[in-house]
């Protein structure tokens, strides 16, 4: 069938368009890729939204009025109550700026990616890796600060277990701690990257199946146009799922960061 013959190369083209390409400069040296560009767009949007919010909140006093202030406040309070107070207990004020910054940064990047034509800034492993690296270093520094370097390294071994088992479990724990860096980055990156590739693939199928009807109206073309509508319906469903995934992935990343900070502080 005509549409499916062209599918393979089109999908290859799609995946190629999603991999990082340098707009300016060189991909391995100094340059600017399309993801970094969209990340800067998302950062600008985030700063504008937050500073308008702060100004409006200062103007209105203690009672929030208007949908914008209430909406942003809902997010901030959700971040504070669910992520910080619920997990971190007494020290939540120290960690709240970091947790809230991570949450809003990833949320802004993901939401910008949902707009048709824009890419999410976190859709490349560079950005996701940078965020995961900051989170990883942060919670290790918190662990070292609260228990001392040797104490933190020792705390990775469980108590009450005899010597040989102790060491084996310690080794596994060290490995899994370093694995947290990789899983955080890869989870965020894969969800955004693959989600958009799948959306692009269904859009591609929709348009490929629609092409025959532009060339001539035959029964097969009409059948294929019907299939095109089917792909469109699935595309809309996946679009909705992607919107949810944008928020959920921001939440999961921040939640896991908070959990790691809590584990590092209490010395489990």
């Amino acid at each position: 069938m005509n549409p499916l013959e062209k599918l393979h190369e089109e999908i290859d083209g799609l995946v190629d368009s999603f991999t990082s390409q340098a707009i300016v400069g060189d991909i391995w040296g100094v340059g600017l890729t399309q993801y970094t560009f969209w990340m800067f767009v998302a950062i600008a949007l985030l700063l504008i939204v937050l500073f308008v919010f702060v100004k409006k909140q200062a103007a209105h006093g203690l009672v929030p009025r208007g949908r914008f202030v209430n909406g942003v406040e809902f997010l901030v309070e959700y971040c504070r109550d669910d992520l910080c107070k619920g997990l971190l207990g007494d020290t939540w004020r120290n960690h709240f700026p970091f947790i809230a910054s991570i949450f809003f940064f990833i949320l802004a990047n993901n939401i910008v990616g949902i707009i048709p034509g824009c890419k999410p800034g976190t859709g490349c492993i560079g950005t996701a890796g940078a965020l995961a690296l900051v989170s990883f270093v942060y919670f290790i520094v918190i662990g070292v600060r609260s228990q001392g370097l040797i104490g933190y390294i020792k705390s990775l071994a469980p108590e009450g277990v005899a010597f040989p088992m102790n060491a084996v479990v310690w080794l596994i724990e060290v490995f899994s701690t370093f694995l947290r860096l990789i899983t955080l980055a890869v989870r965020l990156f894969c969800n955004l990257f693959a989600g958009h590739v799948v959306m692009g693939a269904f859009a591609l199928l929709c348009s490929l199946f629609f092409e025959p009807i532009l060339q001539g109206i035959t029964p097969i073309a009409i059948g294929e146009a019907g299939a095109s509508l089917f792909w469109l319906a699935i595309l809309l469903v996946i679009y909705g799922v992607e919107i949810m995934v944008a928020a959920i992935q921001a939440y999961v990343f921040t939640l896991l960061s908070a959990v790691y900070i809590q584990i590092a502080e209490q010395g489990e």
Partner: protein, 200 residues
């Protein structure tokens, strides 16, 4: 928070330097064709790192403290207002209790006063009536005595007059045969008889 941020930034810069070296060494290793996807590329990694650290700094200095302060102030105000309302309510309940008690006491006192007044009124009334009765009895007794005295005086007067009158009649009937003494003695004897009859 400041020193923590600076120390953290230093550590993160070190770690990112190491990551940069690792990624610079990446193309030298042999990877599968498409594994390029999973390797962080410097033009993305470093701007992302720096951008996030800058954003973190800006928000932690300028945005979050004010937002958290406003949210805290609001919570505090709500808690204070609630507490003030609670206090006012308990005060009001106390006041109501006290006022109700004093009303009950006042009612009791009023009932007592009324009962005492009634009782005294009753006593006064009966006293006045008794006095009036007594004085009435007195007056009647006095009147009777006066009437008795008057009757006796009248009787004496009457008897004198009867004596004189009977002497005159007898003198007229009998003729002037008797003289005054015998007439008197006769008249007194008849008067005594009449008086005995009267007294009976």
């Amino acid at each position: 928070m400041n020193t923590k941020k600076l120390g953290l930034t230093r550590v993160v810069a070190m770690a990112s330097g190491m990551a940069l070296v690792a990624t610079a060494a990446a193309p030298a290793c042999a990877f599968a064709a498409g594994a390029d996807i999973l390797v962080p590329k410097p033009p993305e990694f470093i701007p992302a790192l720096i951008a996030f650290l800058v954003i973190w700094l800006i928000l932690a200095k300028m945005a979050w403290p004010m937002i958290i302060k406003t949210l805290d102030a609001r919570e505090e105000k709500i808690a204070d207002d609630l507490k003030a309302a609670e206090d006012a309510k308990s005060l009001a309940v106390e006041n109501e209790q006290r006022s109700r008690e004093s009303i009950i006491a006042a009612e009791n006192e009023a009932a007592d006063i009324i009962a005492a007044a009634k009782r005294e009124g009753e006593e006064e009334r009966s006293r006045i009536i008794a006095e009036a009765n007594a004085s009435a009895v007195n007056i009647i007794a006095k009147a009777r005595d006066a009437v008795e005295a008057e009757r006796k005086k009248a009787m004496v007067q009457l008897s004198g007059q009867v004596v004189d009158l009977s002497v005159e009649i007898a003198a007229k009937i009998i003729g002037d045969a008797l003289d005054n003494e015998e007439q008197h003695h006769l008249a007194e004897k008849y008067l005594l008889e009449v008086g005995n009859l009267n007294d009976e």
